[in-house]
C-alpha cells in the first residue's frame, strides 16, 4: 500500500514539477553530488525508487522522498525518508549543505554537507566534502569525501557530461566510482529535463556483490 502511495506521489509530482538536469544531488540518480546548493528561495521535492539485486537473495526495493529548501544564499537544508521493502525500518535523514565558493579559473567549487540519519534505534552522522571542477569545456569532475561516525570513509569520484551539445540542452550523463572499506562500485546514469522545472533521473550501479537500478523525479517550486 505504501508503495502505491509513493508511486502515486511520483505521478502527482509530474503535474507540478521543477529542477535542473545539470545539478547533481545525492541519490538522483547516483551517490555523487556536486558542490552547489540549490538556489536561494527554491524548494525542491525529490522522489525515487530503487531496486537492489543481491546474489542468492530476494531483491530489495527502496522508496526515497526528500524535501530541500534553499533557505539562504548558497545554503540549503533537506529532510528525507527512505523505506526498504520487504523489511527494514524507515530511515529519516536531515542535512545541511553549504556551498563555499563557485568554480573559478583558479579553484574548484567547494561545498560541504552535514547530515544525520536515524533508522530504528541506530543513528549516524556524516560529514561530506564536495568539489566540482570543469573537465575540458563542458564536462565536470566531482569528488566527494564522506566521513561517517559509524562507517569507514567513503570516496566518490564522479563525472558529468551534457549530451547533445550544441543542439540539445536537456540531458546530462553521470558516472561515478565509489570506494569504501576496500570495496569499489561503479554507476552510470542520466538526468533529463522533462518540463520547464522537472527532471527525471535513471541510473544503474554495481559493486560489492550488489547491483542497483534507480528511477527518480525532482521538481522545484
Amino acid at each position: 500500500m505504501r508503495l502505491l502511495v509513493c508511486l502515486g506521489l511520483i505521478g502527482l509530482s509530474i503535474l507540478v514539477s521543477a529542477s535542473d538536469h545539470n545539478n547533481l544531488e545525492p541519490s538522483r540518480p547516483l551517490s555523487v553530488e556536486d558542490a552547489y546548493s540549490i538556489a536561494y528561495g527554491e524548494r525542491e521535492i525529490q522522489m525515487g525508487i530503487s531496486a537492489y539485486g543481491r546474489q542468492n537473495n530476494r531483491p530489495l526495493y527502496s522508496l526515497r522522498s526528500e524535501f530541500q529548501y534553499g533557505f539562504a544564499k548558497n545554503r540549503d537544508f533537506s529532510i528525507a525518508f527512505e523505506s526498504l521493502y520487504p523489511h527494514a525500518p524507515t530511515s529519516f535523514e536531515a542535512s545541511y549543505f553549504e556551498n563555499l565558493n563557485r568554480e573559478t579559473e583558479k579553484a574548484p567549487a567547494l561545498g560541504f554537507r552535514v547530515s544525520t540519519m536515524q533508522a530504528g534505534s541506530q543513528s549516524s552522522t556524516e560529514f561530506t566534502l564536495a568539489a566540482t571542477k570543469a573537465w575540458h569545456q563542458y564536462d565536470k569532475l566531482h569528488a566527494n569525501l564522506g566521513l561517517d561516525s559509524r562507517e569507514a570513509p567513503k570516496f566518490i569520484l564522479g563525472y558529468s557530461s551534457p549530451i547533445g551539445y550544441p543542439r540539445r540542452f536537456d540531458t546530462t550523463a553521470v558516472g561515478e566510482f565509489v570506494y569504501q572499506n576496500g570495496v569499489g562500485s561503479v554507476g552510470i546514469g542520466l538526468r533529463r529535463q522533462v518540463s520547464a522545472q522537472g527532471v527525471v533521473d535513471l541510473g544503474v550501479a554495481s559493486g560489492g556483490g550488489q547491483s542497483r537500478l534507480i528511477l527518480g523525479y525532482s521538481f522545484g517550486f
Binding site: 536561494y40 528561495g41 565558493n101 563557485r102 569545456q137 540542452f169
Partner: protein, 489 residues
Amino acid sequence: MSLVAIVLGAAQVGLPTMPADLPTWLNSNSTDHLFYKPAAYNWDIERIPAFAQDMYATGVGHAMAYEALVVGQAAQLETKTFSSIDWVLKHPPKYPVDEGAVSPTFERKYGYLEKVFDWAHTLHFQVIDVFMHPGWTDAQKEAEVVRLWDFYRAQPYAITGLPMNMETLDSYPYSGIFRKRYPNVNALFWGYHWLQTVNYDMLFRVPIADQSPQYKVIGEQYHRTELYNTQRDFMPMTAEMSPRFARQFPQIANAFDNLHMLHDNVNDILSDESLSESQRQQQVKIAIYRVLASSHLSERSGEGKPLSLHDHRHPEGMPGMGMMKGSDEDSMYMAGMGWMNMSECSHCSIPLDEGPRWGATVSADGWTMLVRCPMCARDMASETPGRVIIRAATEDPNRMLILVSDEEGNWTSNIPGIVFLERFGGHPECSDWSRAFTSKEAFSDFILKNPQYKNDQPLSLPEWSQLNHGKPDTYQKIDRPNPYRGGGK
C-alpha cells in the same frame, strides 16, 4: 619604451577607471544562485509554446557567443558559432536552458556578471508569466508586476530602473567594436533584445486568448527579419518596441534597456583585442557598476547632468527610456522611423492623450508606434507593406481591440461585434471623432451621451477598413540626419 608598450599604453587611454565604491560582491567568488519569486503564474509563458521556446533559445544564443569569445574562438564567431546559434534559433529548445552550462568558461571567468544577467533575465520571464496568467484582472497583474519589481531590486545585483543616457553608455574606447567586427552575431543579439522587449505590448492588458494570434505575426518578423537585421544603428529600446508597457512600468523598461546596454558593453570589452585579460575583468566590473541600482541611490528620474553617468533625463512623455544619441527632450531618432517625438501621435503629430483614451499602437515591420486614434492607426498601417498589428482602446477600459492584418491588408478582430465611429474632421480632435466600440449597443450609449454624433452610423470592420484619409496635413516630419551615421547634433 618598446613599441608594444607604447601601443598598449595608447590603447588604455580613456578607459574608464575603477570606482572607489565598487560593491564587494563583484570581487567575491560566492555562487549566490537566486530562485524566482514563487507564484502560481510561473512558466505561464508556455501557454504560447513557440514564444516560450524562442525566448529559451535567446539564452542559448547569448551563452554560445560569450563562450566562443572567452575560449579563443572569436575568429569563428561569424561562421561556425553563428551557424550553431542559428540552428538552435531555428530549432529552439522545449525547456529553459541553464546559460551557465552552455558557457562554463565564461561563467568561471565572469561569474559575477552572470549574477546580474540571470537576475534580470528572471525579471524578464516573470513579468511575462504574470501577463500570461489566466484568471487575474489587469489590475491584479499590474499590482503583481510592481511586487516583482520590488522583489527584483531587493538584491544587490539589480540594475537601476532610472533612465540612463545611452549615448554616454556607448561612448567608451571599446564601444562599437563588437557590432563592427561581428555584425551577424550582433544582429542576433539585437534580435534577441527585440523579442525580449516587443513582447510586453503583445501581452500587457491583452486578454489571454488574444495574445497567441499576435505571436504568429511577431514570431514571423523575429525569425525572418529581426535576427538578421545588420542595418540597425542601435539596439532596440523597450519604449520603441512596447511603448504602452514602458509608459506604465518605466522603471522596468529602463532596467531592461540598461541590461541590454550592459550586454553591448560586455560584447565590446570581450572583443577588444587591445585589452589584457586583467583589463577585461576590470572593465566588465566597471560596466556592471555603471548600471547597478546601488550606483544611483537617491538619484531621480528626469534629472542629472547631461551626457554624464548620472544623466537620468528622458524624452518628453516617455519616462521609460533614457536619452539617445542626438536626442533632446522633444525628439529622438528611432530605427526604421527616423526622428520622432514620443509625446505626439506618430501619424498626425498632435500630442497624445493620457488616461483610458490612450489611443492605439501600430506594430509593423519591426517597429511599434503610439497614435491618437483608430483612424491614425489604420491610415499609418496602410503606409507599410506586410502584416500589421493594431492595439486600440475601446469604450471599455478592460477590453482592448486587437486587429491583425494579413499581407493584403485584410483585418481580423479579436472582438467580433466591433464597430467604429469615424466622422472625419480636424486632426487636433481626432481622438474625439475616431473611436472603437465593443458593440453597437456601446456605440448607441455613446451617441446618447454625445448628441453631436447623432447622425453618425456605426461602421463595421469591413466598412471602416475601406476608409483611408492619407497623410494628415498636421504631420510634421522632423528633418534631421541620422545621428548614428555621421549626422545629427
